[in-house]
Amino acid sequence: MGPQTAELKVSVASTSPFLDFWQTFSRNRMAVAGLVMLVTIITLAVFASVLAPYDPKSSVDITSSDIYNPPSSAHWLGTDDAGRDILSSFLFGARVSLIVGFFAAFISVIIGGTIGVVAGFYGGRTENLLMRFTDLMLVIPDLPLIVVIVALTKPSLLNIIIIIGVFGWTTTARIVRSQTLAVKSRKFVLRARAIGAGNVHIIMKHILPLVMPLLVVNAILVISLAILNESTLSFLGLGDPTATSWGQMLNFAFVRGAMSAGAWWALVMPGVGIAWVVFGLTLFGQGLEQVLNPRLESHHLSPGRRSVQSDAVIESATVKKKSKKRKDAPLLLDVRNLSVNYISHDNVVAKAVHNVSLQLHEGELVGLVGESGCGKTTLMLALMRLLPAAGQIVNGHINFRGKDLTTLNEDELQKLRWSGISIIFQGAMNALNPVRTVGDQIKEAIIKHMPSYAPGVLDDRVIELLDLVGISKDYKDQYPHQYSGGMRQRAMIAMALSCDPDVIIADEPTTALDVMIQAQILELLDDLRKKLGLAIIFVTHDLGVVAEMCDSVLVMYGGVTAEYADVDTIYNAARHPYTQELLKSFPDLSQPEKRLISIPGYPPKLDELPEGCRFAPRCPLAFERCTKEMPILHELEDGYHIASCHLVEGG
């Protein structure tokens, strides 16, 4: 559904999942930079006793004139207030800060992980109680609490580790719980339960491995928080007096007059150390999260690709098709040989729509039919130039009101959208903004396109529109969630009508609605079409609806036109095997004994299209030529009926 279909999964052949992970990881610059920063500082800390030029505890220079000596060849980073070498203190300080960070985080992750898994897995009262407790701990400011407790107890390294660890688990518990909830209803967990596996076994064998990646990312955050907390404690003078951490070095320098002595060297390095580790951890964690949980490349406001006009001559019959019923009505929208490609970030090209033509006359209702993934939605989005950033019109023209929409710039498009062509999206729950009233969202379009409406009349217009689709005016200032599913879809229709468009695109407007409501909505659309003289492009799976309402039908398969004809022709004299198969899978209530046959297999992946006819792999009538050569559009019956199949060649 929606433009998300454009997201392509490109599978890379690999030998092991670990190698896979490493490949993506090494391509993520943030993760690699963070890892390098961490490895550097850990190495320095591990080899501190080898690398440090002096003993950090003993004063090297005892005379008072040597206090706060600036960096020199003997002391690269200078000396502190007691004449100690700062570089050596820095290297040994790294040990203390890292040890506190890692061990405190270990405690936090164990506590938080256990609480999260238990709450998520057992649910019910256990979960309620544990999560309430977590919320409680989340509200209490942790650092002041840690400060108070450390101040009340003996500030030894072990105490500090335990206290920081014991109060740092809340975020872990929340994250792990929601992940456990998401994982526990997966099939293999349910299956393990069904065959009688014990809870502990399920948690260890099935839940934990799935929670682990998230837990690792969270643990990295917890480590950096623990290091920051330790440094703050030490800076406040609550550090272990026998183990000098970076925070403590800063505390000494700050309290013992480094500022007034102008000894910047005593102040800069320890802070750089803390920032280095925390920044390294943060980069590593963020990068790791991107690797484990890749986000979409773009969103609806990302700049799209400009359409390019290759004007390559595409081998096919010139489309003259005009609906028999409407042949006197003037042509509104003329789509010629339109092709749309999706280009992924790896430059894989998917030909989502290829060489599709479509004519829409005043008052005409065209049905657009085909299975999911056949390019219907892409075609509709292309008509309004609303393709996602990866999509690109590579060929063809969209002529509307004397203009070619493929050549318009963004400003011109904005003026044309909704006032010329509007669209009813499928799933109105998501297509309406949840935090604005429905009336407001309708009004907005009118203000944009019909500035002549005075503010006072605006509300009347909104009420009139709602009335037109059968919604009481009391609902004008309600939010979408206060509407029922059918009402939301009606509201969406009212919105689409708001600026008197010539053409309305209805993209599966009745999916996810129950049958009664579906019928109501369809009847409403048909009424409005007759009343207002609208031209509608109706995208649907439902051939029954098509038979009842449409004037003509465009059947799409794998991004190309399979067949395009009058509705009567399609139902009585379909020539393309795909259309014929589709009709077989549509229940005919007049012949109840006839079995429903669904077409075996799936439409082709748009980035792995077969060489010949795109339907050939599933076609019951396919012969050798079909797998080698792509059929072109053939004209039948004076151009009122076209089909792309080798079988209909030459009429």
């Binding site: 800076f235 935090v435 396109h449």
Partner: protein, 342 residues
């Protein structure tokens, strides 16, 4: 109707946490190893008369509560003691009278000392928080809108770096730099400024507020940027944004009218959650800049072992955070109409 129920639920929860904090605050200082309260009345800084006054006022010669006397070591008191005649009851009673204890160092009631300082902290947090939110949100919106561009990566790096800096260290560096460039090195007013005209005094206050606020803004801005960016990236991928685009709205209109309010929702939650961390930051900033606020008082109390200030300060901070959380919940329900019906 729903709004009222939502309000009642949230209010009930806040009151529950409030009670929890009050109880925690008592036990933390009365039954922790070392019995700080009892030790306190042996503090050499206090006169004999004061010690006697404190003893009576807080009932320190009475059992902590009936049955349990102290947790260190676990001592069992007499369960026959009247619960109204215990330290805990006196503590709660004092609390309701606004009595937070008596500072060993200042020889003055804790509530007087903290009361003076509370407003200075609110000023610092208020200005810093507003700046951090405004700048952070703007950066986040830019980063999300121009996702995967140089602006995006720049904003991301700056935010991550700002988040990684130890607050007190950034403060120290700024004090160090500021003292060489004519900035005041601490406090909130130049001595003797009170004899000058009002506007000179205000100018002096702003001058003193500049560096602490800057520190605060830099540290907290990054997180807002990161959250706004990721929340807006989600919102901008929603179907209703496509609807807005199909309606012919301009990019600016879409951001302003459709994305921002929805994208701000998690920010409101973060502001409330962050207040706990904010307090941690304020302790550090106030210590470094000698800003006469609550955080500075806590810092001094730690080094002076002035436990009543520590106890009162912790309670005040915890209560403020709970109230702020409650306000954030109400704001959220105002911003997101769906909340009330859930």
């Amino acid at each position: 109707m729903n709004r009222w129920r939502y309000f009642r639920n949230k209010a009930g929860w806040s009151i529950f946490t409030l009670i929890f904090v009050i109880v925690l605050n008592f036990f933390l200082f009365r039954v922790m190893p070392g019995d700080p309260a009892r030790q306190g009345i042996r503090d050499p800084r206090l006169t004999k008369e004061t010690i006697e006054a404190i003893r009576v006022r807080f009932g320190l010669d009475k059992p902590v509560i009936n049955c349990i006397d102290s947790l260190n070591p676990v001592r069992f008191g007499s369960c026959a003691v009247n619960p109204l005649d215990t330290q805990f009851f006196i503590y709660v009673k004092n609390l309701f009278n606004g009595d937070l204890g008596f500072s060993y160092y200042y020889n003055r009631p804790v509530s007087d000392i903290l009361g003076e300082r509370l407003w200075n902290t609110i000023l610092l947090i208020g200005v810093g928080q507003i700046l951090a939110i405004v700048i952070g949100v703007i950066l986040g919106v830019l980063a999300a809108w121009k996702a995967r561009s140089a602006i995006d990566y720049g904003a991301l790096l700056i935010s991550l770096l700002a988040w990684s800096l130890p607050v007190f260290w950034l403060g120290i560096i700024l004090v160090f730099w500021g003292s060489n460039h004519g900035f005041p090195i601490g406090g909130k007013a130049t001595p003797g400024i009170s004899s000058y005209p009002f506007f000179t005094q205000v100018g002096d206050l702003i001058w003193h507020l500049l560096l602490p606020t800057f520190t605060y803004t830099v540290i907290f801005m990054g997180e807002y940027t990161l959250l706004m960016r990721s929340s807006l990236l989600d919102v901008l991928s929603e179907d209703y944004i496509l609807t807005a685009k199909a309606k012919g709205l301009s990019t600016f209109q879409i951001l302003k009218d459709h994305a921002l309010k929805n994208g701000m929702l998690p920010i409101v939650t973060l502001i409330a959650i962050n207040l706990g961390y904010t307090v941690a930051g304020v302790i550090q900033i106030e210590s470094v800049f000698s800003w006469p606020g609550l955080g500075g008082a806590l810092f001094e109390a730690v080094s002076r072992r002035d436990f009543p200030i520590l106890q009162g300060g912790f309670l005040l901070i915890a209560v403020s955070v709970i109230i702020a959380n409650f306000i954030a919940d109400l704001t959220y329900s105002y911003l997101d109409p769906r909340v009330q019906t859930e």
